[in-house]
Subunit: 238 residues, 2 copies
């Protein structure tokens, strides 16, 4: 059964965590909203009052009889089938815990350019964004990435992966977050990255995995841009 992915077609955003998992597993999927009329179909579907399990927002997937939303929940559902979740219950729960922590980081990264609210443009909240971004760069990025460095160092199976000895969707998510932070805050990341050798080594291994590398080089990978979660405003990276 081909998975249908529904997400805003112009950005990586939260949908990218799902795309990376599907691509790394070479799973057949359709990125519906990127096809002809696909975004209108997505919007109509979300508004369908007959849905028993409606999504609050994209991304969501249709997988056979199931419609599943919330990024981390989609990965929880797909992970075992994609071979991107540990076999044991403790490992699965910890992988999900890490994904939820990455989701928190991504939400905070988004709030650096939208601290006052998602209904306003960045241009209408620039002073507030500057304050929030300073705290994010100086305190939050280090706190989060110190944590992931610690998790890698503490993995009883070695520091090549966050959980166990094989690739999971949490490894892919950490790759995506590092890429996003590098795009949004290149100066801050250049100054800080030496603190996290294991995180950066994992990022490099994920980027070099053949299926991931092929995806990143394809036109299926949307470039980072100023509409997504991670945006590069030089004044927020000062």
């Amino acid at each position: 059964m081909t998975v249908e992915l529904y997400y805003w077609p112009g950005i990586q955003g939260r949908g990218e965590f799902v795309r990376l998992a599907l691509e790394a597993a070479a799973e057949a999927y359709v990125d519906v909203a990127r096809g002809d009329g696909g975004q209108a179909r997505m919007v109509r579907l979300m508004a369908d009052k007959a849905l028993a399990h409606p999504p609050f927002a994209p991304p969501f997937i249709i997988d056979g009889e199931m419609m599943v939303a919330q990024t981390a929940n989609i990965l929880l559902h797909l992970g075992p089938r994609l071979g991107l979740a540990p076999e044991d219950e403790a490992g699965r729960i910890f992988t999900h815990q890490l994904q939820l922590t990455l989701a928190d980081l991504a939400a905070e990264a988004h709030d650096t350019h939208h601290p006052v609210g998602v209904g306003l443009y960045y241009e209408d909240q620039k002073p507030e964004a500057a304050r929030r971004a300073a705290e994010f760069r100086e305190r939050r990025i280090p706190k989060y990435l110190d944590y992931f460095e610690r998790v890698l160092a503490a993995n009883p199976a070695g520091d090549a992966h966050l959980v166990g000895r094989a690739l999971t969707y949490a490894d892919l998510g950490l790759f995506q977050v590092v890429e996003g932070l590098r795009y949004a805050f290149p100066k801050a990341m250049t100054a800080l990255e030496a603190r996290w050798p294991r995180v950066i080594a994992l990022r490099d291994r994920v980027a070099a995995a053949p299926k991931v590398a092929a995806y990143l080089a394809s036109d299926r990978r949307i470039a980072f841009n100023q509409d997504g979660i991670f945006r590069h405003y030089p004044e927020l990276d000062a």
Copy 2:
């Protein structure tokens, strides 16, 4: 095996979603940080570099051999054993999806008083908070609670619960969010609540469930206060 819950002892916060589930199921648990020396024990435990599965932040639980963090993940893990998750996979995944959406709502409620960052006091970000709170009251609360009203209306098993025909941790979470919003934004909620008759009816049923009612009347239920997620600043409810 008695569950050990670790969370900041002075607030409901994110820990309250876990407490409500444990209480509604009459599960034996210890609220460790509320006991003598418990908070220091929690902080020491979090810093233990030997942990294979460390938490990023409270709440976390110790459940036999497992240490589990991230509120929604704790509920995912405990839900089936507490009888607070559906039996079928589709129902379990949808319950988790709803809990993650409630977590997003709670994070946005928190950001109304801390839009610029968690490292600063509210008093240092009052103008920004006023802007963010206005958007939250006018657009975000309606968007979220309209969604939960829709989910109740669309439940094929009837509108008494969010998923299926029995109480789940998502129902408890929706109760908690309504309580928090009423505490933080009493004027806004009074003006809006008639829009969500099913949500309010569910809130009332949860509050009246004997084990929940007994918990709410006990000193185990910490009162809402100005240190938690939901805070009442009259100027943010204007």
